[in-house]
Symmetry: C2
Subunit: 408 residues, 2 copies
């Protein structure tokens, strides 16, 4: 018999009425002679409510205790969901992280899954029941409750699908699937029918919030096909699968953007060995992630260095860099928060030249200045002024033939 | 070092502010060179909210899943409480039922504790930390979450105190202690300083809602002294301890009442062997508890039978009895819900005659007719018309010298 793992996000189980609707959907799958394992998130907003509660008691909550608190969110939805299935005449049983068990490392708040035992889940499936598993949570070697971090329920679902050798892992959300770009700023955005793991990871990390990136990594490593779809309709969504030849025919699969970066420029740096380390080590020591780095050599053994950091760390990073600049005798430190990163993603660009120059050309034609560039095998990102974000996304989406009607 | 188990009820941890206040109280004990184990209930109202949520999904919730849901209540308070202690610079660690572990039988909703492991609690205490244990919950032999039923956190606290050989188990609530009667209907009610386990059990089962009866049974069996007191003041409350000689000098310790009963009378029952069984077996089969039973023999091999059942089961019991009456040829079935049970409790009455007749006399002097009587070694209960409840309680309280000033 086929086996599907179905994961429903917080919006899909936001209240008792939605829980009942989703229960009907699970039963519809079950009636098609398919075994189903359900993985659930907390009700939408519940995790934030609990974090707020913790903050009232301890401004920086103890990580172990915060995990005990947060894990109640999924505990609530799985028990209600099992009741909803039973009310409909189907046997179901809820499973907390420690009951499966889902063993993780002891890093509270962002634990990684080490092992998932299949025995109890298998027994429950074999007896014709529907296991309802709490997403987001696990148990440490010491028996402490751990959580996997934001979006961790996706990872739970994929991991459970992998260990049970499921045929498919369905990720139900409140959108139809993965889009060629953000439909909110580009009305011609189209749903993508199939996308490769690699592309999905680039899309996810660049701001498309449909799937948690670790879950895609996990699915790719074990070749677990994902189906990202809406819990509100019966329409097929987006399959995230291993790359195949037809995918390579498409030059660009999607256009993404993010406004989460800020830029720092340090000018007239004395260009000597080890100078980059003396700038970046103090930033790294402060747990700030440096993303793009550009170095322009000037005349006279001087160099300019420009790099991006997360926007939320901009002030802190500026302070650090100003201090370093004085120490190494650099001239000036300038910051800029009003930037955006627009990217094109596609496995097709691996075997096609000219994609980058086409991107630069499209931006230039719309009068958009490129401040920084970074590329990977299947992605080209440009830092631009933030005010051009929407224009750039629409221009690239159109220019690479992604808009509705263009490809039909 | 002395060891105290402190249990705080739902009103004491009803919100973050109260949690902080209670944390200060725990720390005050800890600073007096006393080891403390904290046991907590869910926030006041939370259990009812969760039961309502379950009812929206499954009108008669699955017992296993309901326990998964309800146990989130204590999970929330213990994690927040541990955070509050940590914010105050004291190391604390929360423990769920499965983490202690508190092993119970598999009867969901009213599980009984089989065993409590002391190893982890001991380790945490020995390292100078404060364990914060979830009341009300345990784990079944199959690893399922169980709950102990209403008031179960008291039982958890006493059981934890017993296994850890604590010196005292403090039950913090929103009242000052155990009163000679309900202060809401008798303004001269006094707080009792010391009361025996036996008396407390009679008081608890007769409507004084301060302590869950199973927890008193447990404390009595293992000789664990209890101290019932308010979390809002520093005043001593009521010690519940083994009976001693001074207690026997007091004839009556308290007056209790309940309005939870209803009466059923079946008249002109043919008086033959087995007739009682043919009436009461169908009632028992419907899981209805019969409390008092009175039988009056008439002339001509006929008898009248009167008994009480819980008021919530009155209609159902009436239906059953009417059916039986037809079958056995009894004349008539009459019901009465407007009754109350008033009781006097005291270990002193064991060795003093005349207590019962004094009670009847006091009621008679106030024109209160006694409908039924039942007695035990340390308790006398009378069924009266409900409208006389307050009058009867005040008259008995006064008549047995319990009122303020009377004993001073």
């Amino acid at each position: 018999m086929a086996l599907i793992v179905q994961k429903y996000g917080g919006v899909s189980v936001a209240n008792c009425d939605r829980i009942k609707k989703v229960a009907d959907r699970v039963i519809a799958s079950k009636k098609q002679d398919t075994d189903v394992v359900v993985v659930l998130s907390a009700m939408a907003g519940e995790t934030d409510r609990l974090i707020d509660l913790a903050g009232q008691v301890q401004p920086i909550p103890d990580p172990r205790e915060l995990d005990v608190l947060l894990s109640t969110g999924e505990q609530t939805t799985i028990s209600l969901f099992a009741m909803a299935l039973r009310e409909r005449g189907f046997k179901a049983m809820s499973f907390l992280g420690h009951q499966v068990p889902i063993e993780t490392d002891p890093v509270h708040g962002r634990a990684r899954i080490h092992d998932i035992s299949t025995k109890r889940l298998r027994d429950v499936l074999d007896s014709g029941q529907i296991p309802v598993v709490a997403g987001f949570q696990g148990i440490s070697p010491d028996g402490d409750i751990t959580t996997l971090g934001r979006g961790g329920s996706d990872t739970t679902a994929v991991a459970v699908a992998v260990v049970l050798h499921a045929d498919l892992c369905e990720i139900y959300t409140d959108v139809d699937g993965v889009y060629t770009t953000d439909p909110h700023i580009c009305s011609t955005a189209r749903k993508i029918d199939r996308i490769s793991y690699d592309e999905m990871m680039e899309m996810a990390s660049l701001g498309a919030k449909v799937l948690e990136i670790r879950s895609v990594e996990f699915a790719m490593r074990y070749g677990m096909p994902l189906h990202v779809r809406s819990s509100l309709t019966d329409n097929p969504g987006t399959y995230v699968v291993a790359e195949d030849e037809t995918m390579e025919e498409v030059l660009v699969s999607g256009v993404t953007y993010s406004r989460n970066d800020a830029r720092i420029t340090i000018t007239k740096v004395p260009d000597r060995p080890g100078i980059a380390a003396s700038i970046f080590n103090p930033i790294t020591d402060a747990n700030i992630v440096v993303d793009m780095i550009i170095q322009n050599t000037r005349a006279g053994d001087l160099t300019d260095m420009t790099f991006t950091v997360p926007r939320r760390n901009h002030e802190e990073a500026m302070e650090i860099v100003k201090k370093v600049a004085r120490e190494i005798g650099a001239e000036q430190v300038a910051g800029d928060k009003d930037i955006a990163k627009v990217s094109i993603v596609g496995v097709g660009m691996r075997d096609h030249s000219g994609v980058a120059s086409k991107m630069f050309d499209i931006l230039a034609r719309h009068g958009i200045n490129i401040l920084m560039i970074s590329t990977s095998e299947i992605k080209i990102s440009c830092i631009i002024e933030e005010k051009y974000t929407e224009l750039a996304v629409r221009a690239l989406h159109d220019g690479f033939g992604l808009s509705k009607g263009a490809a039909d």
